[in-house]
Structure formats: C-alpha cells, structure tokens
Symmetry: C2
Subunit: 377 residues, 2 copies
Amino acid sequence: MEPGAIDYRDLCMSAAPSRLAGPAERASRRRSAASGSGPGVTLADVAREAGVSSATASRAISGRGPIAAQTRARVLAAVAKLEFEPSPLGRSLRMQTTGLVGVVVPDIADPFYAAAVKGIQHRLEASGYHVALVDTDERVDRETAAIRSLLVARVDGLVVCTSGIAGSWLADAVRRSRTPVVFFDNAVAGVGVGSVTLANEDGMRLLVDHLVVAHGHRRVAYVGGRLSETSGVERLEGFRIGLLAAGLSPVDAYVRMGDWTPASGARETEALLALDEGPTAIVYANARMAFAGLHVLHERGVRVPDGIALASFDDAEGGALLDPPLTALVRRDQQIGDLAGSLILRVLAYAEAGPMHVRIPMELALRRSCGCAGVTA
Amino acid sequence: MEPGAIDYRDLCMSAAPSRLAGPAERASRRRSAASGSGPGVTLADVAREAGVSSATASRAISGRGPIAAQTRARVLAAVAKLEFEPSPLGRSLRMQTTGLVGVVVPDIADPFYAAAVKGIQHRLEASGYHVALVDTDERVDRETAAIRSLLVARVDGLVVCTSGIAGSWLADAVRRSRTPVVFFDNAVAGVGVGSVTLANEDGMRLLVDHLVVAHGHRRVAYVGGRLSETSGVERLEGFRIGLLAAGLSPVDAYVRMGDWTPASGARETEALLALDEGPTAIVYANARMAFAGLHVLHERGVRVPDGIALASFDDAEGGALLDPPLTALVRRDQQIGDLAGSLILRVLAYAEAGPMHVRIPMELALRRSCGCAGVTA
DNA sequence: CTGAAAGCGCTAACAG
DNA sequence: CTGTTAGCGCTTTCAG
C-alpha cells in the first residue's frame, strides 16, 4: 500500500462521524490572494487596472448599460490580464439570484430517474444554471426536508418528482416562496408552473390491448407501482380501462400492488404463481419489477412467453438484452428531463404566465416476452 | 387533453431554443415581501422586532460570540414569530463560502455512478451541504468546462471522477483555486486532497485466479475499459498479472479494448467469437459490457458457462438476475460515494493536512456464469 | 454583554 | 458616456 494510503475501515471509524461541521459552522478560509490573479481578483482591481470606476467596469463586462467601445476594450484587457472571474457571490446578493435549480428525485439509482436527471442537467447547463441534486430515497419526509432546504438556499427554480402525492405543505411552501416549480413523472394537481408526465394511461392501454387482442390472453395480471403516486394510479387505471375496452373485466386476484422495487416485483409474481388458476400474461408497471418477475419465472421453470407472457410499461437499458427480450413501452430516456428543464427555463427566462402541462406519448416495442417474433428493436 | 396541456412536439419547437437567457442575463425578480414573513424577512427585521442590534441578533442565531441567555431568547422568539430564515446569500458573500460541493461524473446513467452520487449526496446532506451535479457524458472537454464553471461558482469543494487521465490543466486549476478536490474511481496522481478507488488490480486477479485455478481455463480473454482512465489501466494490469501468477501468459488476440459501453462489449465479444481458436472464458472489465457480451453469446447460441464461461469485474443491479447469474466482484454500491463524501467533509471541516487515499477491497461473488453451482448471492 | 460601523463583490439609480 | 453613491443581508472587529 503506498504512503498516505489507508484502509477504508479506518476511515469509516475516523473520518465519518455522523455529523461533521457544516458550512455555516466552519471558520472562513481566507483567500490567499497569492499571485494577484485568478479567483481573488475583484472588480475593483480590474477597474483600477483599467483606470475606470467599478461601475464602468461592471458595464463593460456585463454588456448592460451604455459604454464607449474604447473604454470597454480597456476594461476587457484588464480582465484578461488579471484573469478576473466575476464572483457570483456578490452578484447573487445584489440580484437575488443564485443560478441554481434544485432537482429532487426519489431514487437516482433508478435508471429512469438517472436518465431524467441527465436530461435536466444538460438542458440547464446550456443556459448557465447549476443543478443542486437531492435524492430522497422515496421518503416523503426527506423530500419535504429537501425542498425546504433548497428554498432556504434560494434556488431560482425547482424540478421535482414527488414520491407520494404531495400534501398541502408542498403547495403552501411553493406558493409562499414564489419559486417556480416544475413537476415531472408525478404531477401535483394545481401546483407549480408546469409538469412533464408520461402518457401512463394510454400507454398501459396499448400494452393490455396488445396482449388481449393480438395474443388472445384472457387471464391478464397486473403488478403495479405505488398508488401514492400519480403514475401508479394512472397506470392502474390504464390497465383496468384497457381490459374493459377489450371486453374483459379485471379480476381482483390478478391485480397486485408492488412499490416499484425489484423485491416487490418478485414477491407479487410469486403470489400470482401461487394462485389456483394463474394468469397467462403479466403486465408490470415498471422495468425493475418486470426484470425481477422474469427472474422468478426462470427460477420456477416457467417458460416465457409460452407458459406466461410478459410485458412492462417501462423499459430500461437492458430490457432488450434479457432472455427473452422484454416487450415494453419505450421512450427516449432523457427526453422527460430535457422537457422538464425546458419548462423551468421558460419560466426563469420569461416569467411567463400560465402553467404548462406536457404528456409524453409512449410507443410499443414488440419483443419476444409477449409472444411476438421480436421485430422491433 | 385537459386545458393548459400541450403536445410535447410543440414544446420542442417553442420552448426549447438552443440557448435561453441565463441567470446573469435575467432581470432580477423583486421580492414581493407579501405578508412580511418567510423569505424576505431580513436579520434587521428580526433585530428590530426583538429590540436589539442586528449584530446581537446574528450572535443569538449563529450561537457564536457572547450573548445573554435572556437576550438570546428574545431574539429567537422574534425569529419564530417572523419565520425568519437567514439568507445564505449575505452569509456566502461575507464568509466566502457557498455550502456547495461540486460533483462531476462521466455518466450518471451508469448505475455505478448513480449509486456513487447517491452516496455522496446523502453524506454531504447530513452536514448541510448541497451537491451541484454535472454529468460530462465522458467527454474531457465537458469535464474541463464543468470544473471550471464549478470553480467560478465558488463551490467549497469538488468530488470528481475524471474520464481521461487528467492533464496538467486540472492539476493547475485545482491548485490555483485552492479548492479541495477528492477523486473517486479514477485517481489523478499527485492532485487533490484525497481519493477513493476500487482495488482494481487485486479484484481482477481474484477473478482470473478463480477461472484458471478453480475451473481450469487456459484460454482466458479480456474485454477491457478505456486505458485513458486509471481504472481501465489497473484492471488490465490485474488481468495480466493474474494470468502470469497462474502460470499462463497473456495472448494478444485475447485482450480486447472496449470503452465501458454495452455496444463495445458486444463488439469485442463478437471479435473474440470470430477467432479461429477462441477463448473458453471471458473476463469483462465492467458489468455493462458483460451484460452485452452475454447477450451476444445467447444470440450466437453459445451456452454459458459450458461453451464459454463469463465473469465481470463490476456488478450491477441485475447481475444476479441474469441467466445464468453473473459471477462478478461485488461491493456495497453507495460505499464509494459515501467515502468520497466523508473525505471531502473531513477537509472542509478541519482543513486537515495530508492527502488521504482509500482503496475499497472487492469480494468475489461466485454465481453460475463461471461454472460454479451458484452458492453466493 | 451589546451596539455602531465596516465591508464581503457586485449592480443600478442618479447625477454629471 | 462615466463616476459617485447606495445598498443586497450577513458577520465581525472594535468600542463602550
């Protein structure tokens, strides 16, 4: 082990106490102002160097306000010479703006949210915003704390996927702070300047319709997600309506509720298998549950799709790689994040009026787990 | 479609121009100061309400400096009454501290980085820091821009996984800014206050050793990751040394270089299959390439592990769910992030001296893809 | 123990 | 067109 290296177990003991001093408690590190260039150089320095007032320097740099071309050039030269970088701290205080957008997600380890965050971040970065990310572990109390804390930090906007249909607290807090909020994946009725959601109901109907009409299944089961989230509610509704539209009626025993996790997908699949007269097809409300379900079926020696056919609402990197490849609804993964980012930017840039709600349509990818030959990629 | 709802295609046209006005260009929204409570209440308001000076109010709230218990109580009452939340903007300017830690990752959609970010965020949140996340898409130019931009934003610290062994720019920038940096997964020699990396070499040796010694393979191939990253280099080295230690010599044709992506995993696997005398076992440098490789093998009708045995350096949610379950090295996924967070906190809290380098040991999970019976979970 | 005053770095009115 | 002045909200000497 090289010098300076330590065993990770030691670190767990020594450097990971449950609570270290936070930013507010820390003594301020003084800037060293070492070479007189780079961070540490102030606008006043630039002004002095250029022989103008700091107001003029500010105008030259920001491009706002009248300024003689020649003066501007002098200032810019000074900026370059001193390698001046305007400090956002002074500007933030003055402008009441942080250049930060808070992003709150239930679980960044879920590939769906990871992709969404990627989309949001790329979008916002292009407009000069930074993303303050908080992962809530799907816990409503953590979500509440996260939003509160981001509001205190004076983020310019918020992009939130709430877990749990948010109560009045969220609505109040958001309204009072006058901070624009965009919801994605799960919307909150009546709150926020916009939302981006999937066509949960339509998509699920597509899936059910395919299983029933194209493949003739009549005993179709459903493994759903949390009903405390709108996506869970809407997908279930889509399942029921899809069944009814196809002339079948939902059977209670075939409708199982999971919580989006692989563990719950496995559990509910086993429950379905234990039934006297089991289903001939199972629809999962998301990919992670479907993956786990497929695994259970393999273990039990049930052939897919011959024994039981499978389909999933939601795809993920790997759905196409499974054996058999999973029939699912597809979308460009970062799209939802990109749109959510666009929505919040629209408000930040133009302070536009009415809320804007976007639904992303879903497309069916017919692979082999439903019984198709697997034409679609 | 409900009122206010629009089709997403319209939005792509109307609200997603390539560049919207950024924070610096926006006119400042004036606080409405509506009810006189909540955000908008200033320390001066509290002081007035409590009948003290703002200096005293500050002392009462921050807990720093001498203050009479009674006075403090009066101030705290005023705080509660007005629902005062200290503005971080004023404090930031004064303290030269933002409470922000920049986190830079190559690809948040990679489950490994997602888990790492989760660990980092949770750790930092516990100490009151926010995480400013940037995803670089594995592009060095984006990484450079990200770090520069975070430094300009005056983050208090940086946690970085660099893609590409960072050149002198990074070293310079980091040193000059005097901002503490912790590297994870990929380290950069001589730069930063710490690093958290996996035991790449040891782990890979474990894998090779198992294949050769336990299962008697003599034609072992390797599908590696980028050699512009230390993890890529170290894993390759581990493979070579492992082979040598087992008394075999590496065969050039069996050593293929991918770039961590599933696509490259598939491509190199096919190249291996095209060989006259192909390998009897393949070791992959990460899970995503292994998944794709397994898929290719399935498609080609090669039985795993009978035809070709498989093992992967790196696991991921789902490795155990594959068919056959994938033999791989395992770790607690968020651990690397947790440790990286601890390391940067240590520096932020104590401004401690020497750099600290941590290696996370890897453990072998014997599943079925290598030929084992699949005892380990 | 408390108050007055200065200032972090920047921008915006308002004069000149 | 440019300089002066006045803060944004907070912390911290320095006196009292």
